[in-house]
């Protein structure tokens, strides 16, 4: 637009675009095609890839493990998503209170977001320890005999979810907080004059007005749920007995520990399919409940 013409300009633009375009070709465009190709081959890295057509996908769909892994991811999603929406909206509502010291609390609530998932997982592995973990100690104070959490087939996934709620609440709360701050206070004042109770104001004003944000949080948290990895690797090593095996963890193992690159690539496309499907469904459903009027 500004400098030079013809060849000179082309060179300038080319120079500024070079790193990104190079990266795009090397680390995004060709990898996408290559991954798709690899998904149609059988490859152990040592010998040349062998074309097998759709066999990886057929194998995948026929394998018990794949559906077990999907079931685990769905279990995580069903537990995690409603909890994270509720907890982050609740925390955001608290942080929206016009009281002194709220900013200090905000810093505290953000600490888990700053913590790496490896560190967070190690903390929770220790906290969920059957006998010496503080979760079961506190449950004990309430007269509840806590489960063995991460070493129990039934309780391992809820344990991982609990850690994830702790880790992510501060993040989504700040997103909700921005939405809450954007609500015109006149709505509440008008409702108060009309004698609306607190919960009525919440469900008839707050909820509809933050629904675009709720939609964003739902989308993000569902997509994240299907990409859980580190917490499972550290907290349970995908156990016990495969109870916390999830898709990314399977992709990692098949590719980099078993060297089944073809099968792992097919798995990664299955993941893409599920994320796409979930996002598409959400997008279609949003008309019914998301309010963009305000």
């Amino acid at each position: 637009m500004y400098i030079g013409r013809g060849r000179r300009k082309a060179l300038t633009v080319g120079a500024f675009l070079l790193p990104s375009v190079l990266g795009f070709v090397l680390f995004s465009l060709t990898p996408i095609f290559r991954s798709f190709y690899l998904g149609l081959t059988s490859w152990d890295v040592l010998q040349a890839p062998k074309w097998v057509g759709l066999q990886n996908y057929r194998e995948l769909l026929a394998s018990e493990e794949f559906w077990h892994v999907i079931k685990n991811s769905v279990e995580f999603t069903i537990l995690y998503v409603p909890l994270i929406v509720a907890s982050s909206l609740a925390v955001a509502s608290l942080l929206n209170g016009k009281y002194r010291g709220v900013t200090a609390y905000k810093v505290l609530f953000f600490l888990p977001v700053l913590t790496s998932w490896v560190a967070g997982s190690l903390i929770w592995k220790w906290i969920l320890n059957y006998r010496f973990g503080i979760v079961n100690i506190f449950l004990g104070y309430l007269g509840i005999h806590g489960p063995p959490w991460l070493t129990d087939k039934l309780w391992a996934m809820p344990g991982v979810v609990l850690a994830s709620i702790w880790k992510d609440t501060g993040f989504f709360a700040l997103i909700f907080l921005a939405a809450l701050k954007g609500i015109n206070t006149e709505y509440y004042e008008a409702a108060a004059i009309d004698g609306a109770k607190r919960w009525q104001r919440f469900s008839y004003i707050t909820l509809p007005l933050v629904s675009p944000t709720t939609f964003f949080v739902l989308m993000t948290s569902i997509i994240n749920s299907f990409q859980v990895f580190t917490q499972v690797m550290i907290m349970t090593d995908a156990g016990p007995a495969g109870a916390t095996q999830v898709i990314i963890e399977r992709i990692y193992r098949y590719a980099f520990q078993f060297y089944h690159m073809g099968y792992a690539s097919a798995l990664s496309w299955a993941l893409f399919f599920f994320i796409f499907l979930a996002s598409f469904a959400q997008w279609k459903l949003q008309k019914r409940w998301v309010n963009y009027d305000a």
């Binding site: 500004y2 375009v21 990898p31 009281y99 888990p112 998932w117 993040f171 990664s268 993941l271």
Partner: protein, 278 residues
């Protein structure tokens, strides 16, 4: 007007609630600190003690003895700085080109860039590993950092930011005969500093905390491990030594907390522009 008593009651309930939540979020950290200050024989004792009978910094010494943790911290620092610099440089250059130049196929290229954001990282992860292997960059910091030359989200942010700058800055510089490079270095970079700072803290933190990509690229060489890889290794070999693990955790968390306290507003703008990931 509400009666005074009611308002006082409301305030009390508010502080009780928010402090309750704060406790739930902070207690895991406090337990981490408490455990890290215990001696081996004091870790697994009932009833639990929040303040150790004998406060000991032994685990902070031991962890450096059993594992090259200082090396891991330096490695983490190196890859985080490297990745941040590469991201900022590449994204700001391309952002400038997209914002201020017309060229053939510009919109199509940009759409193509945006479309790749739909593909999850797990899909490109395997081929990216293979590319790095062909380039002999496995187990190198360069290999870990180089894929960040392509970051659509960062590029997009810088582009939007440059487009929002007043046209007059650029016109004046062009009339003075400034080259594209002077425009970039003298006008663009100084004016988009806030968004670059946002990108910097987010990229730094993301790289510092990342586990999967370093696990794939760096885990073949112990001397190259970053802090998350080191903690993972310590966990699998000395998993019962909770005091050491918690000490290592605290060491790995502190730098980011310090950066956060110094640059809080950039973290928050990072959330509002959608860069910070949960």
């Amino acid at each position: 007007m509400m009666p005074k008593v009611l308002r006082f009651l409301q305030k009390t309930v508010f502080y009780l609630l928010i402090s309750g939540v704060a406790m739930a979020i902070t207690l895991p950290f406090l337990w981490m600190i408490s455990t890290s200050l215990k001696q081996d024989e004091a870790i697994m004792i009932l009833p639990i003690r929040w303040i150790p009978r004998r406060i000991s910094f032994q685990s902070y010494r031991d962890i450096f003895v059993i594992y090259p943790l200082l090396r891991a911290a330096l490695n983490s620092f190196t890859v985080s700085v490297l990745t941040t610099l590469i991201t900022l440089l590449s994204a700001s250059m391309a952002g400038f080109a997209f914002a201020k130049f017309d060229f053939w196929g510009k919109n199509q290229l940009f759409l193509l860039f945006l479309a790749t954001m739909m593909v999850p990282g797990a899909v490109t992860m395997i081929p990216n590993f293979l590319v790095l292997r062909n380039l002999h960059l496995i187990n190198t910091f360069a290999g870990l950092a180089i894929p960040s030359i392509y970051n659509v989200w960062a590029l997009f942010l810088v582009k939007q930011n440059i487009m929002s700058l007043p046209e007059a800055f650029f016109e004046a510089a062009v009339i003075d005969g400034g080259s594209a490079f002077t425009l970039y270095a003298r006008i663009v970079l100084p004016l988009v500093k806030p968004i670059l700072a946002t990108l910097a803290v987010i990229t730094f933190m993301g790289t510092w905390n990342d586990f999967l990509w370093p696990l794939i690229v760096l885990s073949g060489d112990v001397t190259k491990m970053t802090l998350p890889l080191a903690l993972n290794a310590i966990n699998s070999r000395w998993g019962e030594h909770w005091n050491m693990l918690m000490a290592g955790n605290l060491i790995s968390i502190m730098p980011i907390v310090v950066i956060y306290l110094l640059a809080q507003k950039y973290f928050e703008s990072g959330i509002s522009v959608g860069g910070l990931k949960a």
